[in-house]
């Protein structure tokens, strides 16, 4: 008696791993599209290879002029710039988060009425669209050179980032706990304080630290368009071909980012 089993026909065939995109039609279309796009993109990218070849020995000289990093001869300017960046980061993170809390509450669908929701979402969308640099560019035009313009640009970026994540976190919260607190007869603010806040707090503290880290890194570039901070010092050192000082500044930025990142990991573990 022969029992034909559906797997029998597979015996002797080699196993192949299932493809990432199941639909073969879609898979081949995507591959073809990607190939055509890449060909066109490389075709339109005008690379001046002789200029690049020129650049290679220059790159070597450039890199060697980075070493050894010179921390001392411009120490005072670097110190001022770093401090300015740090203040800018602190106040723009604090102000940005302070503003983004009401906006984020308004942008949570399960918390706010429809018109408030739409308005808050519009605010978030607008503050997220433009890169900080473009905002800084206009802030410098309006408010003059200096850290205030950078502070405004970074705060706006923080509002868009933090408000959106806060709203999403509130939308994902456990409604059972919120219901329980409401059932005790709490007022709206008590409800917010005892039902919503404890649920979103640990993640939001972590995100706050993360945003601090982003703001510090961004504060290094708003200076390029005149927004104050270490970026201005860095640009000056580039313009004056003092690359050893630039290397020092870049190393300091990397160091501070590392410190912030480690401490934020520590704080997050402590909070959770």
């Amino acid at each position: 008696m022969t029992l034909s089993h559906p797997t029998e026909s597979l015996v002797g065939r080699r196993w192949k791993r299932p493809p990432f995109i199941a639909n073969p039609m879609l898979r081949w279309c995507l591959a073809l599209g990607a190939a055509i796009y890449l060909a066109v993109a490389f075709g339109t990218m005008e690379v001046n290879w002789s200029r690049v070849a020129d650049g290679l020995p220059r790159a070597q000289r450039f890199l060697s002029s980075f070493f050894p990093p010179d921390f001392t001869s411009r120490a005072e300017d670097i110190f001022d710039g770093i401090l300015e960046s740090l203040w800018m980061t602190v106040i723009s993170t604090v102000v940005g988060i302070a503003i983004s809390i009401p906006v984020g509450l308004g942008a949570a669908r399960n918390l706010s009425p429809r018109p408030v929701y739409l308005f808050s979402r519009a605010v978030l969308a607008i503050s997220r669209t433009f890169p900080e640099i473009i905002v800084a560019l206009f802030a410098v035009k309006l408010f003059g050179f200096g850290p205030f313009a950078g502070f405004l640009a970074l705060s706006l970026g923080t509002i868009g980032f933090y408000g959106k994540l806060l709203a999403e976190d509130i939308e994902d919260m456990d409604p059972v706990q919120a219901e329980a607190v409401k059932a005790t007869g709490s007022s709206w603010f008590q409800w917010l304080n005892y039902a919503v806040q404890p649920q979103v707090m640990p993640r939001m503290i972590g995100l706050g630290m993360y945003r601090f880290d982003i703001n510090f890194r961004e504060s290094a570039v708003v200076g390029i368009v005149g927004g104050g901070g270490i970026g201005a010092t860095l640009l000056t050192s580039f313009d004056r071909y003092e690359f050893d000082s630039s290397a020092a500044i870049l190393l300091i930025i990397i160091g501070i980012v590392m410190v912030v990142e480690y401490s934020s990991g520590y704080v997050r573990r402590w909070v959770q």
Binding site: R17, M45, E46, V52, F138, G144
Partner: protein
Amino acid sequence: MPVNEKNGLKAWQRRDRNSQLLIWAIQFAAVAIFVYCWQLISDKTIWMFVTDAPRQAADMASRMIPPKWDYLSTLWMPVWDTITIATLGTLMAIVMAFPIAFLAARNTTPSKTFIRPIALFIIVSSRSINSLLWALMLVMVIGPGVFAGVLAIGFRSIGFCAKLLYEAIEEIDETQVEAVTATGANGPQILNYGIVPQILPAFAGISVFRWDINIRESTVLGLVGAGGIGLQLNASINTVTWTQVSVILLVILGTVIVSEWVSAKVRHAII
């Protein structure tokens, strides 16, 4: 649970006295730092400009309207360049981030004492230096143009992609790796059949996410000469042709919205 007794009535409290005091101390310190920083920054601000800003803004807005729509026809090429910079930069970054992530992940790194710190340092330095700074340096080395932009976006994104990827690798299910090992697979085979299939969705998600961010970043690279629509923006601002600036801003807005929509759709399809 801490309970406070007052006039014979017991009131529930969230924290006991010491932790409450500690939290107050932290809050006080935070406010003090904030006020101090605000003081420093307000010393460096010319408040006359700030109070004057609303009038300036209204003036600038009035100069921007109506947008000069004919300028749009010259913008298609820069927009294409911007997208090219973002796409090729992301591509370059993920190709390089893939091996670095494996070297940095605690469970796949060949050497925890030597190679892992090096990989982590590459990740941190690539992440800490903004793409605009990378562009600034690359323009000096290889000259202005799209190529410098691609490299800048690529260098900046390596750290981001590698970081998220190595975290994904560290969170994989070890039992699957063990199962593949038990079949007698060698090192590359374990990697290929045990680990890669587990991180592939995360990998695709990270790439699309970074692409979306890179579109946004590549719109400004032109400010330092690295190609894309930022070049036109810079030129228009320098020649104070505000009617062109408004067109460029609208185009950037459109590009960013479209890229965000595409990335959301793709990520939704993957996850």
